[in-house]
Symmetry: C2
Subunit: 326 residues, 2 copies
Amino acid sequence: MHILVTGAAGMVGRKFVERIARDGHLGERAVTQMTLHDVVPPIAPTGSIIFKTSTSDFAAPGEAANLVAERPDVIIHLAAVVSGEAESDFDKGYHVNFDGTYALFQAIRAIGDHYRPRVVFSSSIAVFGAPFPEAIDDEFFSTPLTSYGTQKAMCELLLADYSRRGIFDGIGIRLPTICVRPGKPNKAASGFFSNIIREPLAGQEAVLPVPTSVRHWAASPRAAVGFILHAATIDSARVGPRRNLTMPGVDITVGSEIEALRKVAGEKAVKLIRHEIDPTIAAIVDGWPRTFQAKRAHELGFTADKDFEAIVHAHIEDELAGKIAL
Amino acid sequence: MHILVTGAAGMVGRKFVERIARDGHLGERAVTQMTLHDVVPPIAPTGSIIFKTSTSDFAAPGEAANLVAERPDVIIHLAAVVSGEAESDFDKGYHVNFDGTYALFQAIRAIGDHYRPRVVFSSSIAVFGAPFPEAIDDEFFSTPLTSYGTQKAMCELLLADYSRRGIFDGIGIRLPTICVRPGKPNKAASGFFSNIIREPLAGQEAVLPVPTSVRHWAASPRAAVGFILHAATIDSARVGPRRNLTMPGVDITVGSEIEALRKVAGEKAVKLIRHEIDPTIAAIVDGWPRTFQAKRAHELGFTADKDFEAIVHAHIEDELAGKIAL
């Protein structure tokens, strides 16, 4: 089996690739080949799988056709410009997030000849826009308030129609905010959800720019990889024509994050969180969805982390080799 | 004021153009110029307005730029391939209904220089896909089950984002099934809603291919023109970021249509309806939405026909010069 991963150099992409390299199979089928694509050079793990890496703007003319020319059986389409950049650079956001995905879907169709890969598309809870109900159910409408959310919602519609038409067999997964993100603090408005856990566990100070009452929907990187694996192997007949699913997550508040940190790493860790309200970030976060009833995804066997404490433990195991710096 | 109408040769387009030609103004502003565009030559009415007609595939490269080059103040974007054709011709449907609209929106943006027209986009209740609640409210999600519905839903998302970004000031209106359509019976699966009224009123037989219990959401051509006029002039600040609105309609059953026909034109007219179930059409119609709670549109001042009898009277006045053939 041949798997193509776009956005393979990204955090979730890397973790998915490492997982497949470790497992050697996807579902019950052995993986023999993986094509890793990104705009920056992806890193191929070692192992028995034949890895091919490819670096380009996948949305540039002709690139999508190159990527699917070898007819990968499964396409994990993660490549995207992040929310903040899609908002600050209108052209780039549409070019990569929408035009690129549209071109990829068209390239699959252009092959014809009964080629019909499984396509897993990483969508986002940004397809929803305020005002929200307190918990967003599976039938709430997509009225995004960002260009990023608009682009994701448009791709979701395409994915469902192309799947209905039998051009490919797609599943769109709306990922919760991924937390705890490894690596350095970044400028994403959602960064603090990770920073206030990751930095204290590494003995570093972290800034919390919002009140502890802020509520959100989170999944560990490990859970996100699990969503992709399940979406890549699920019997799509069970999913039906509504191909885009809000993934299950953990209903967190910043306060509950801090409590979990205290339980796992003690008061010393919690003391490294500096409360310093940033009105700009607080306002952005105020426009985000809080919690979801991801009933369909639950019924279809997608599994969230058990609770936020489990998310912290997953981070310590996967990123810190089981050890806390404190 | 300069108005551009795409799809100006279509039924709704023609009626809108005739109305403006008659009124001479849109809201409180005098209309001095109208550009009528279609893929077949549109007919310009006579009057004091300067009419310019233009015939081309508006979705072809460069065409959208030509259409907006003169900076029309208002763009009424009605051009579309109908539902059946978008389903039978995948490429043409996406080319016209989606790619063409996307190109039009991009062409508006390319002008820059504070150009920010009002754009009225004719969307459709086909953005909704079964299973439905009995009455679809304003927050029900868009999961179309046709390529046509998919294309309209994607354009709705673009319209909202381009409006939010200040590129233009758009309003999307989801039209009910237009009934009574003038002209000859056509092959559209929804044709019977009109045929069973129009044909008997002209002394002709009509075939009813579905049970009388079939329920649907209808608006007269006159009401549709009213929706466009209101969408072209409404204060968009009142609409807010959710720019796409389900238009109000009349909640009809085929049985209630027949009762209205009986009341207006007598038993003789009703006897011209031949009941002959067509299982294919009955199955298609079974997948359509039944009724809506178009609460937002009502609150924003969009007005439906009073009832189905009013729709029949509007047809007799507008198409039959007030006279029934029977």
